[in-house]
């Protein structure tokens, strides 16, 4: 195990940012710390980096107890959301900073800087100032700077959060490919569930300062441990006391085994998919089903017609109210308690 946290607590005044965190993050993998803003994931990352000190608990990096090690001796590469570019230095000087601090020979600094700039495709910009780069380029520079010191672990704090949607997507793909090349143990913080599902080998869902669940993206998506995790990773709807994904529901315009009867209350086409809202007797809120356009046409569904619905066999389900102790769950103020949680909202 590459990064091992045990019994970590951290509070800022009265606010408990982290509560009893025990976590093993495997070597060589790309792990996402996923959760809503203010959930403590950035604080956790900063404790790993040594930029913040936990009130209790231990931090172990590659078998070395780093709990009392200052940040500068942890050999950790850290990438900040807002780049933290050294504004008065050229791109090359930014990238070479860590090596110069380590008093490496000039020739080595130069060679390593060139290699890193090549890796992040910034070689033509070596002599520019950070102010002359775009946001995406600055973040790649920050990444090259962090990787230049050959860090034991690479930590990224919402690395793409300040970028626009298109660049964010490009950089996300690029980070995945980079990780496949470099293989450094990487942990990144994000509140975007799509980003985590797409890029990470493992996901740790953090909410209210606690670990809700950890596992591979598939494990989390298919077998969420709580209402919170289920709701945070994708759209959900409630049927017969369970939360299910709207695309895991089977709907027909005739009765079939295990299905409950309802009526199509609303039918809306959104791009490539069709969203059907069923009014089912006994359900406090409409049941949401998503279909492809072809399916919807084939099944002759229309507003007002009767329809039967059931979860497909093997669908991921979570009983409503069966959330873990720490889970905030869906907003209880909606009264009926039916969560139609928008993903990554």
């Amino acid at each position: 195990m590459s990064i091992r946290l045990a019994g970590v607590n951290k509070s800022f005044g009265d606010f408990a940012a982290l509560t009893d965190i025990d976590l093993d993050l495997p070597s060589g993998q790309l792990t996402a710390l996923l959760g809503p803003s203010g959930g403590g994931k950035s604080t956790l990352l900063r404790i790993i980096a040594g930029l913040e000190v936990g009130d209790t608990g231990t931090v172990e990096i590659e078998g070395v107890d780093a709990t009392r090690l200052p940040a500068r001796k942890r050999n950790v590469g850290f990438v900040f959301q807002h780049y933290a570019a050294f504004r008065h230095m050229s791109v090359a000087d930014n990238v070479g900073f860590g090596l110069k601090i380590r008093k490496r020979p000039k020739a080595e600094v130069k060679a390593r800087t060139a290699e890193m700039l090549d890796l992040v495709h910034l070689s033509p910009f070596a002599e520019r100032l950070p102010a002359q780069l775009s946001g995406g380029q600055r973040q790649r520079m920050a990444l090259a700077r962090a990787l230049a010191i050959e860090p034991t672990v690479l930590l990224l704090d919402e690395p793409f959060g300040a970028l626009d949607a298109k660049v964010r997507k490009e950089l996300r793909d690029w980070l995945r490919r980079l990780h496949d090349e470099v293989h450094v143990t990487t942990v990144f913080v994000t509140h975007d569930q799509e980003e985590a599902l797409e890029v990470a080998d493992r996901i740790v869902v953090i909410n209210d300062g606690r670990v809700e669940q950890e596992g591979t993206p598939d494990e989390l998506y298919d077998a969420p441990a709580s209402e919170f995790v289920m709701g945070f990773l994708g759209p959900v709807t409630a049927l017969q006391g369970h939360l299910v994904r709207p695309h895991d529901l089977e709907v027909e315009s005739h009765a079939f085994p295990g299905a409950v009867e309802g009526r199509v209350a609303r039918l809306a086409r959104v791009g490539f998919e069709v969203r059907v809202e069923l009014a089912v007797p006994g359900e406090p809120a409409p049941v949401l089903v998503t279909l492809t356009r072809a399916e919807a046409a084939h099944k002759q569904l229309a507003e007002g017609v009767a329809a039967w619905v059931r979860p497909v066999p093997g669908a991921g389900r979570v009983a409503v109210g069966a959330s873990s102790a720490a889970s905030a769950g869906p907003d209880p103020s909606t009264g009926s308690g039916v969560p139609l949680v928008a993903p990554g909202a």
Binding site: G50, P70, R72, N75, F78, A84, R87, F97, I101
Partner: protein, 290 residues
């Protein structure tokens, strides 16, 4: 240095552009401001210049060549440089303390830093006298026994000057430290830099223009300091008389030569202030490029 300055100048240019007032109002406003400044600043300073050269250039050069005048300017410069050096070191230290650290009574300290701006320099001088006076001060006799004379000597004058110009560096550096934030410093730390390396390679370059600006301002302020220095120096010619004290003394004496000396010294002081202003206005655009 040249590279970052160029885009900054353009940026400040667009920033200072304000909403245009209707021209009916614009002209009276402009005239009012010009008249006000002329009556208050330009005219009196202009008279100093014209009085200085009333009898031609040679009496002025002669006056400035007097050993008392030369000594006064040397002393003034020495005091100012010492005060500026002290204020630069402590100013940066206090700024870092105020911005980067949380501690009880931080706001009180921040307010205290502004005290020299609001309190009369004469009060500053009197306070120093009460503490360090060789005969009556509560700390002075002890120091005097150790062979250190503060009051009526250069240490006291430097202290008085430093006290008065203390806030100038801090008030320039603090907002810049706030603006650059801690990200860059933390990045340097995570890349292995020690506290001193981070300060020298990241923080100091980031605040350098604000610091230069603050230093120029305190230098100008220190050269012109009068009240506090008058109280603690005694104003003895060729021993503790600075340029401002010399102007006052010569002006109150009879004789055209004395008057010319007073005007000449005053003119040099005004000239130094103008040079400082020019330096500051040249630096100002780059001050915004950080």
């Amino acid at each position: 240095m040249a590279e970052p300055t160029a885009p900054a100048a353009g940026r400040t240019g667009t920033r200072t552009r304000t909403v245009r007032q209707p021209s009916l109002l614009r002209w009276p406003l402009r005239i009012a401001v010009v008249v006000y400044l002329a009556l208050l600043v330009v005219w009196p300073v202009g008279i100093v210049a014209s009085k200085t050269f009333e009898r031609g250039l040679s009496p002025v050069l002669e006056a400035l060549g007097q050993p008392e005048v030369i000594f006064a300017f040397e002393l003034t410069l020495a005091n100012a440089v010492w005060a500026v050096v002290i204020n630069t070191v402590f100013g940066v230290g206090i700024s870092l303390l105020l911005v980067r650290y949380e501690f009880p009574r931080r706001r009180a300290l921040s307010a205290l830093v502004d005290l020299p701006l609001s309190v009369s320099p004469v009060v500053v001088g009197l306070a120093l006298l009460l503490v360090y006076s060789g005969r009556t001060g509560w700390f002075g006799p002890t120091l005097e026994r150790l062979g250190v004379q503060v009051i009526y000597a250069q240490p006291g004058m430097i202290m008085a000057t430093a006290f008065v110009s203390l806030p100038l560096v801090i008030r320039e550096v603090v907002p810049v430290l706030h603006e650059i934030g801690t990200d860059q410093e933390q990045a340097a730390t995570s890349l292995g830099a020690s506290a001193w390396q981070t300060f020298g390679r990241i923080t100091l370059p980031a605040i350098r223009w604000a610091l230069v600006y603050g230093v120029v301002l305190s230098l100008a302020r220190s050269l012109g300091e009068y009240g506090a220095v008058k109280v603690v120096s005694g104003g003895v010619a060729l021993r503790t008389q600075t340029a401002t004290l010399l102007v006052e003394e010569r002006y109150s004496q009879f004789g055209a030569d004395n008057t010319t000396a007073a005007y000449a010294a005053a003119f040099v002081l005004a000239l130094l202030a103008v040079v400082a202003l020019v330096v500051v206005s040249v630096l100002r655009p780059s001050d915004h490029d950080r």
